[in-house]
Point group: C2
Chain length 362, copies 2
């Protein structure tokens, strides 16, 4: 079964396909998008051994001379030094403007390979083949690429759309439960903003097994929601900020937790805490945070963390890259299915949070 | 006297203004484009002492809190390490998405600062204030940004349009003659493709004094020509390749000369040699290269160089980033004012050049 979703940002429209076991015949799907060319598959040490050699062999046999470039797994690969290594390797292989890159892996591979593709020769074609649930529902669609700076995550990057995104839900079956759950955090973020059928679908996800069974529909619904937002606002001037629901608090708690929390877990905490706060402010209907909490906890996602309310948490909030002239834009729910913007000065937000969140001295 | 030229690429339209002594009141011109915000002026050790402190003081007084970031002068600043330093400094100063960067300097500053602006927080606003003739007529307009790799110049970068370009021809008066002449190489490239009034104007440029006197018109004509091309084709898929007239041979001889030739000098050699070769092929009218030679030599620009035809020259040709699947796209003149494309396999071009150019073993 193939589901096709069109993403149509002004700069570069493209298609996302969700194909169960699509990775087994990658060359078939690539050949519908790309003319014959050299390809470099960028992958990491975890995903590479599972899928890259077979993909490389199939693509080469199909007339696409293909090489594999493997980077170390983990967030530390989103660095200047790794970016430089990747780009130097592309140059050493004389990859030309009409060739292409396939990003095969999770969010780190997608972000780094997408960034490298966007700047090598001022941009060569890239196709995203995300292999984690988080990358499938979030980072592979929308064209955000990035590396980290010592002072913060994703502080350097580009908006650069792929030519195509191939999502194979079959690869999820080998993922550890914690990685599945973190992807589900982003799915719930989309579901609560989309409301109706999508939100109702998540009521039935009470286990990892249920999540895996419903994965094609959940991915499709999440990508469709994201596609509509990205089509309306590619570079996050307004509408796209909706996708930051839960992310302001989430990002800050993720930084304060110093690696202990996965991104999707931090988003889950941000989602829940912000919803709870807006409920207290009577801007979000009573009971919304309870409904959300049930769905998050069904997959073992956290609602709080000791890092919440620490000095490191508040420091991270102050350096959020989404801050615009000391104004913070939060997203809240008028009701499920109806997200809205809430702007306030950073100082006011700090006071509010300090009053409402558990306070910790370290 | 102010001349205004509109550049309208799909991604981001903007204005180029040519204002004699415009740099003296930079804040006035900036305030017509940018709302109040933090500004970082990126400049180099040569240009900074002449203009940056005054500009910084004026901008700060006008309500734009401004800082100056000075990089070493010279091509070696177009490196990963310098890019990383610049971006880290922007992060350390907490420059936000709604702040801005002014690139104040020659081509190196413009390329590096433009690149940094395009990737910091996935892109913040940039204004180009070019201070060399080459940057004024060429690199500041069109949105190409870049750094170099060990394997070649400008191999990494972005297409990223500025919000505004301010060109002050008064700053040219302090430039050494050789730097003026190299800018004139790019002007002649545009003039011979534009033909008519622009080409006729260059007949009167027989000295640096004449060049300085006619600078506002020459810059305006060059920028107008370039603006039309960039508006039609921002990312160099077709039409914009016209701007590469003379550049294929020029780039190769520049690399083979290993720093001895300035970019504009190498372009002059490429322009002349290619025109001579197409004349021999009877695709360009007889006498065109002689007319061109007179104009180039009037300002002391070279027509040939010992690096032409060396093994290093041919090696550089083979690794030209404009190569597409081993096809080379050359530009020639059907007649003055009428450029056209000439595609041929790289191997054929090599044979042709080896037959027609002086051959040297080292």
């Amino acid at each position: 079964m193939t589901q096709t979703i069109k993403v149509e940002p002004r700069s570069h429209p493209y298609t996302v396909k969700i194909i169960f076991q699509g990775l087994r015949h990658l060359e078939t799907h690539i050949s519908r998008v790309w003319s014959k060319r050299q390809i470099v598959i960028i992958t990491d040490e975890h995903v590479g051994p599972l899928y890259a050699q077979q993909a490389c062999a199939h693509l080469s046999a199909a007339g696409y001379p293909t090489k594999v470039l493997t980077i170390p797994a983990g967030e530390q690969s989103k660095s200047w030094s790794q970016l430089e290594k990747v780009v130097n390797q592309l140059a050493a292989w004389h990859l030309s403007r009409t060739d292409g890159i396939i990003a095969l892996g999770g969010g780190v591979v997608g972000d780094l390979a997408g960034f490298a593709a966007s700047i090598y020769l001022r941009g060569i074609a890239v196709i995203q083949v995300p292999t984690s649930l988080l990358a499938q529902v979030d980072s592979s669609v929308g064209g955000k690429t990035a590396i980290d700076l010592p002072t913060g995550k994703n502080l350097v990057g580009t908006f650069y759309q792929p030519d195509f995104v191939l999502i194979d839900p079959a690869v999820l079956q080998t993922l550890p439960q914690r990685l599945l759950a973190e992807g589900y955090g982003e799915i719930l973020k989309c579901a609560i903003m989309a409301g109706s059928d999508f939100w109702n679908l998540t009521a039935h996800i009470q286990s990892c097994t249920a999540l895996l069974q419903a994965a094609p529909q959940l991915i499709s619904a999440s990508v469709s929601f994201k596609a509509a937002v990205v089509t309306a606002d590619e570079t996050e001037t307004q509408q796209r900020q909706l996708l930051n629901l839960g992310h302001t608090v989430g990002h800050a708690v993720e930084i304060a937790a110093a690696g202990r929390l996965f991104h999707g877990e931090a988003v889950a905490i941000g989602l829940y805490q912000l919803t709870r706060l807006f409920e207290k402010k009577q801007l979000t209907p009573n009971g919304t945070s309870t409904l959300l909490a049930q769905r998050l906890q069904a997959l073992g996602l956290p609602l709080a963390d000791p890092a919440l309310g620490t000095p490191a948490f508040y420091q991270a909030l102050q350096h959020d890259k989404k801050l615009k002239q000391q104004q913070l834009t939060l997203i809240y729910l008028k009701k499920i299915g109806h997200p809205a913007f809430y702007e306030l000065p950073l100082a006011e937000a700090m006071t509010w949070f300090k009053h409402e969140l558990p306070q910790r001295s370290h």
